[in-house]
């Protein structure tokens, strides 16, 4: 098992390097001079040259990349142009907020998704299946930013039960798990959970239908096992793949949270990304994308390893 983990780590290393190259290059495919965001338009040529040397833009690209990579490996992601603070601290704070939101959303999505999926799989092709499948298709097809707006319209503007934006009272920048902050997470989490719910529901339905059609289930019933016992067998067979999908969905939510965080002004990494783009804050943009991508890669790796550990059919060499 340990050998497998090491092999996977080795396999993932070139991917990580590739990811870092892309993150680095993103800044350089942007049209316009990167310096134009930092300096006013009427800066003197001398100042421009000074800043260029200071940021290292005058070196050849591969050298810039090597320097940047060296700094990243030591945890230095640069300084935000807009706020002047360290990118690393900003990103980590924001990512923790998003992590909380994404985790809650994934749990909600997985619970409902698994439920609908089981119902659909067990009652295959009957009306319950059609209803549950319809709900899954709706979940997968909904533009989640629009759904957020609709929920805000219903629950904030009309009913005034829940706050429309923010992570806490008085625009607090971090979310704490206490009663005051609870109201703030409900709408964003529900909105975020819809797509994972749809995906997991469809996956579970396919899994359950497939397992129930296998001969060993007939064998179990023939030997007299009660339905609940059969159900437990189905669950243990479906669990590895379902959990793997859940893990991947968590990754997608982490990386793709920008739309919902914009709607709800949730102070997470997506919101930070939005700000970085519009302020042309390139170090912040670079750092945020890198961290999010690496999180995603790590999550994929973890899902892979857990699945291999749990599923006895996969060879461990």
């Amino acid at each position: 098992m340990l050998v497998y983990i090491l092999k996977r780590l080795l396999y993932v290393t070139p991917v990580v390097i590739g990811v870092s190259i892309i993150c680095f290059l993103l800044v350089h495919i942007a049209p316009g001079d990167p310096l134009s965001a930092i300096l006013p338009a009427d800066a003197t040529q001398e100042l421009v040259e000074q800043m260029r040397a200071a940021y290292g833009f005058d070196r050849p690209l591969p050298v810039q990349y090597a320097l940047w990579f060296w700094k990243v490996v030591h945890g230095d992601l640069g300084t935000s142009i807009a706020t002047g603070r360290s990118v690393a601290t900003e990103v980590m704070r924001a990512v923790s907020n998003t992590l909380i939101l994404a985790t809650v959303a994934t749990v909600i999505g997985f619970t409902f998704g698994a439920f609908f999926g089981f119902v659909a799989g067990y009652f295959r092709d009957r009306w319950l299946d059609k209803v549950a499948s319809l709900i899954s298709v709706l979940g997968v097809s909904v533009p989640h930013y629009w759904l957020g707006m609709v929920l805000v319209i219903i629950f904030s503007a009309n009913l005034n039960w829940l706050p429309p934006t923010g992570a806490g009272p008085d625009g607090s920048v971090a979310w704490r798990p206490d009663l005051e902050h609870l109201r703030y997470i409900i709408l964003p989490a529900i909105t975020m959970s819809v797509i994972p719910m749809g995906v997991i529901s469809r996956t579970v339905r396919a899994l359950v239908a497939d397992i129930l059609g296998q001969e060993f289930v007939q064998g179990l019933r023939a030997k007299g096992l009660r339905e609940f016992g059969v159900f437990r067998h189905v669950v243990t067979n479906a669990a590895p793949t379902a959990l793997a999908v859940m893990g991947l969905q968590l990754g997608y939510l982490l990386g793709g949270s920008i739309l919902i965080e914009t709607v709800f002004s949730w102070p997470g990494s997506g919101f930070l990304l939005n700000a970085a783009i519009f302020q042309r804050d390139l170090p912040l943009l670079q750092g945020t994308i890198l961290v999010l991508a690496l999180f995603f890669v790590a999550l994929n790796l973890a899902v892979d390893v857990v699945q291999t550990a749990v599923d006895p059919r996969i060879k461990r060499t």
């Binding site: 707006m149 920008i258 994308i289 991508a293």
Partner: protein, 306 residues
């Protein structure tokens, strides 16, 4: 004489008059896609979805000839009118422009930004994946690992990162979405091609002395493009939502163009005044996306039946 058993299904019959008359008699050469099409038409859900899409697409194409109001002309006096207003059938937006007209015209841009990237990604991804799958070996490894690097980004993040870097605009949005969708299609293409490459009939074709191009054209393409195409159609709804999402963030189309995502953005502040009107563009995205998903599901079930 030994007892002969007549197994007429396999028994040869009296020789036909020569030269052979070709394939006119006997069942007509049923194309594979004709069979698929027939099965889709018989599926009520998929059929309804297809009709919805056809209506939306035709409305978008024929918009200038449908007798609609000018989607760009606003009126400061008649802003944010509700649905079923005397003048505006579906209300008016924050600049007094007719919502019905803007929704229909908006379909043009939204559909374009949603469908074109998938079309381009299908071409590029299939080419890459089929080559990688057919050639195999280290070429395959090199290509697929490069693809894996892009796969390491969640799609939304990659789309926004690329759009953010390239700048706003419809063209840039289409470019970045194409880049986002090419890796998954390439992966599917490579996987399917690798499976087909090891089939006996491909070996038999190799054994008859055919060159790789002939084998790909005759034996591989026909069997491989079908599954890739179905996968690509399932990506259209995602692309639609992402493209509109980019516009929603201000990274796609720019005002005053009518486009569903952009309209959602500009109408956000209006949710307290005219919530129903503000929600309309998103509803359009929702409906179109559902329709594409249902159609794609229907296609997949139609293709699974052998």
């Amino acid at each position: 004489m030994a007892v002969t058993i007549d197994l007429s299904r396999d028994a040869p019959i009296a020789p036909p008059p020569y030269p052979p008359t070709g394939a006119e008699e006997g069942r007509a050469a049923r194309g594979y896609w004709a069979g698929v099409g027939r099965r889709v038409v018989r599926d009520p859900v998929a059929l309804a979805a297809a009709l919805v899409i056809i209506v939306i697409v035709f409305a978008a194409i024929l918009a200038p000839w449908l007798g609609l109001a000018d989607p760009y002309r606003g009126s400061m006096l008649r802003r944010l009118r509700p649905i079923a207003d005397a003048v505006y059938r579906l209300g008016s937006d924050e600049l007094g422009r007719d919502m019905l007209s803007r929704l229909v015209y908006g379909g043009r841009l939204s559909l374009l930004m949603g469908v074109l990237p998938v079309v381009f990604a299908f071409s590029a991804g299939s080419a890459i994946g089929i080559v990688a799958g057919f050639v195999g070996g280290w070429v395959n490894t090199a290509i697929m690992r490069t693809v894996d690097v892009f796969y390491a980004f969640p799609s939304v993040l990659l789309a926004i990162a690329l759009s953010g870097a390239l700048g706003a605009g419809i063209f840039n949005a289409i470019v970045s979405l194409t880049i986002v969708f090419t890796p998954p299609i390439a992966r599917v293409a490579e996987s399917v091609t690798t499976q087909i490459r090891t089939r006996d009939y491909v070996e038999a074709a190799r054994v008859s002395g055919a060159g790789p191009l002939a084998i790909i054209r005759v034996h591989v393409l026909g069997n491989v493009l079908g599954p890739i195409f179905v996968y690509a159609t399932s990506l259209i709804s995602v692309s639609l939502i992402l493209a509109s999402g980019l516009s929603f963030l201000g990274l796609g189309s720019k005002p005053p163009e009518p486009e569903w995502g952009l309209m959602l953005n500009t109408l956000r502040t209006a949710i307290y005044v005219q919530p129903l009107v503000a929600a309309l563009p998103g509803a359009m995205i929702f409906i179109t996306s559902i329709a594409f998903n249902l159609l794609s599901d229907g296609l997949r079930s139609a293709m699974e039946v052998r």
